[in-house]
Amino acid sequence: MRFAGIDIGSRTIELVVVDDAGEIVCSLQTDTGFDPITAAQKLIAEVHYDRILATGYGRNLFEISFEAPTVTEIKAHARGARVFFPDALTVLDIGGQDSKAIALFANGRVKKFEMNDRCAAGTGKFLEIMARTLGFEIDDFGREALLAQKDLNISSMCTVFAESEVTSLIAKGQSRREIARGLHTSVIRRAAGMINRVSSAGAIVFTGGVAKNPCMSALLRQKLGREILVPDDPQLVGALGAALLAGQDPSTAQTRPIKKMPPAAKEANENDPGQAAPAERTSDRPGI
């Protein structure tokens, strides 16, 4: 049996397939774009699996379109994080639109969690907009921020207000790197607050796309004085967790195979599921 987990996030969709032993068979990623269901449809058409479990903000849409069961990002990240760090008791997941701090029991079950309220303050989207305002590529943003000599205080966490604050700092001739550092610090302050509300000590597994930003983990370590563990490909942790839950967790025993394809997507998709499925692509990423 092969079990798939699909994490439909606001920015990207990840798909991970595991085998009976829980080993990763393949993983895929694509941009969510403006049509998440078609994007998801294309991903799942590329792999073989027996059961699938959806997570992420688009999970309910997926559930309706494909009659697939769902699990929250919170449970999925908790499960996925344990693959890399089996003793982890705290998980921080910062994705495109949401951030979550999760405390686990020793057996890996979710004990308590905190989640950001409504807006994108303190999430990947916030950092992305700020990087653009400062003229950085998103992949360079964290590296550049790490090189700053000092922190500039950014007082606003509202994305729109912070953007105008940044614009006025640029106009005052402040260093872009230092502004970037200040922005990272303000996100970390918020993340640290969430973590402290769920757990007070021990290592923290940092997952989600934002965990790839080196400045984020460095500042988090500095701020909390706790070990920060970042898995390889942290953005795949949710999908991996969902895949493992699809196969292993008795609480998703109602998991059933996909029964129907969404009509629109079926027409648009040239890979007729009735034909021989295309060869599976194994992730070219090391680690997962």
């Binding site: 990002e73 969690f113 989640m115 409504r118």
Partner: protein, 425 residues
């Protein structure tokens, strides 16, 4: 809606176009939220009817009562004693709240960061869409939280007939004396308005009527202890909401009819959700019609709500009034005793509420508690933190939510609630 209702609404001064829009939204929501449920008790048909006529037939009845010389008293709070209202030959109705309406107008009178409940009540007035408010001969405000008591100062300019009742905030001898003095003042104001003196006989009959209504709701609540749950939390909440609108005797009869049906269901082990469905107690701020967002999300995410520790729920209805008094004075004492036990978060300190939440968790075999707080509702949001701590220490999972009547946080709420339910499995 019949033309008859339209002319009635027009006479009441409602904004017909806005009111149509409101009823359309309400009807659609009711369809999607209530009628879409499976295995509903047949007795819910009565409540479906009441809701379909909540601004129609019920208002017609109230206007008929007025024509026959009765007065209509509108209230925003469970501290307004229905017993005294009935004894003075008047009818008590809950006033509209529970949805965002005319918010641009509201924010000219109230700060934007006022709680949704208060803003909503103003919205229904300023938007001219609440026939209960427009039918009322007396609107009773009460000095509960700071938000409400200051808001009544502004409401006074918007309505002709506002009566403000003071309430104690500390449960002491002086606090009780204040409540009694205020109930006596309220009785005198009602007698003035209706021209009918409260007598021992009328008060006794009124106490019995209201007790019967509460007893019926207690019976319904108690049947929710069964697993599988014989009725959804949404439907039970609806009964608790209709408690504030319906004619008391008819309401009592209808709730008891549902209970008869539920008892059969329990005997047959039939439920609206499978056995072992995670059971949730909702605790916190009141949920007036059509504030159904939270229970809808919970009950479409794999859990069932088995109780409401709320003013629209057990906090509001928990106790009966002792009806053994022989004089108005004795019965008034009993009424004060009864209302004095309401453990609203405006009281300081308020340890009874914490005890009641734990008692309810045990009685209804709840697997977890969702603390429902309206944004900017300081008393309940502040109590939420000790509630969460105490429950966690007792090993009872608790999810603290802060929300309002808008739909903008539905996605986030759903994720939180689903994750919480996953914790309970």
């Amino acid at each position: 809606m019949s033309e008859d209702y339209r002319s009635m609404w027009q006479l009441l001064g409602l904004d017909l176009e806005a009111h149509d829009a409101l009823l359309n939204v309400l009807g659609k929501a009711y369809q999607d939220i209530f009628l879409a449920q499976k295995e509903r008790p047949r007795g819910m048909e009565y409540f479906d009817f009441v809701m379909s006529e909540v601004h129609g037939l019920r208002i017609r009845e109230l206007l008929d009562e007025k024509a026959a010389g009765r007065k209509i008293i509108g209230s925003y709070c469970v501290f307004v004693p229905e017993e005294i209202v009935l004894a003075a030959n008047a009818t008590l109705v809950g006033l509209c709240s529970g949805a965002d309406f005319a918010m641009e107008e509201v924010e000219k009178c109230l700060p934007r960061n006022t709680c949704a409940l208060i803003k909503s009540s103003f919205g229904f007035k300023l938007g001219k869409v609440c026939p209960y408010l427009e039918s009322a001969d007396m609107i009773v405000g009460e000095n509960t939280c700071d938000g409400k008591k200051k808001a009544y100062e502004s409401l006074k300019d918007l309505v002709q007939n506002l009566y403000v009742m003071d309430l104690p905030q500390v449960k002491s001898d002086q606090g009780r004396a204040l409540l009694k003095a205020e109930y006596q003042r309220f009785q005198a104001a009602l007698e003035d308005l209706t021209g009918v003196a409260v007598t021992a006989a009328s008060l006794k009959a009124a106490i019995r009527t209201v007790n019967a209504k509460r007893a019926a709701i207690h019976r319904l609540s108690s049947l929710r202890k069964a697993d599988p749950a014989p009725i959804s939390g949404l439907d039970a909440l609806l009964a608790n909401q209709v408690f504030f609108y319906d004619a008391p005797l008819r309401f009592t009869k209808s709730v008891n009819a549902i209970c008869d049906e539920l008892e059969k269901r329990i005997a047959e082990k039939a439920g609206v959700f499978p056995e072992k469905t995670p059971r949730i107690l909702v605790s916190g701020c009141p949920q007036a019609v059509p504030n159904w967002k939270l229970p809808f999300i919970v009950e479409t995410s794999g859990a069932v709500i088995v109780g409401e520790e709320s003013c629209v729920g057990e906090r509001g209805t928990r106790n009966l009034t002792d009806d053994r008094g022989e004089t108005v004075e004795e019965m008034l004492e009993a009424i004060v005793d009864r209302y004095y036990q309401v453990d609203c978060a405006i009281f300081t300190p308020n340890p009874q509420r914490l005890e009641h939440i734990q008692e309810m968790v045990a009685a209804y075999q709840a697997d977890g508690v969702i603390h429902y707080g309206l944004q900017f509702c300081q008393p309940y949001l502040m109590e939420a933190i000790p509630v969460e701590k105490t429950l966690e220490q007792a090993g009872i999972p608790c999810l603290r939510l802060e929300t309002d009547y808008s739909m903008e946080d539905v996605g986030q709420l759903k994720t939180r609630i689903e994750a919480f339910i996953e914790q309970l499995h």
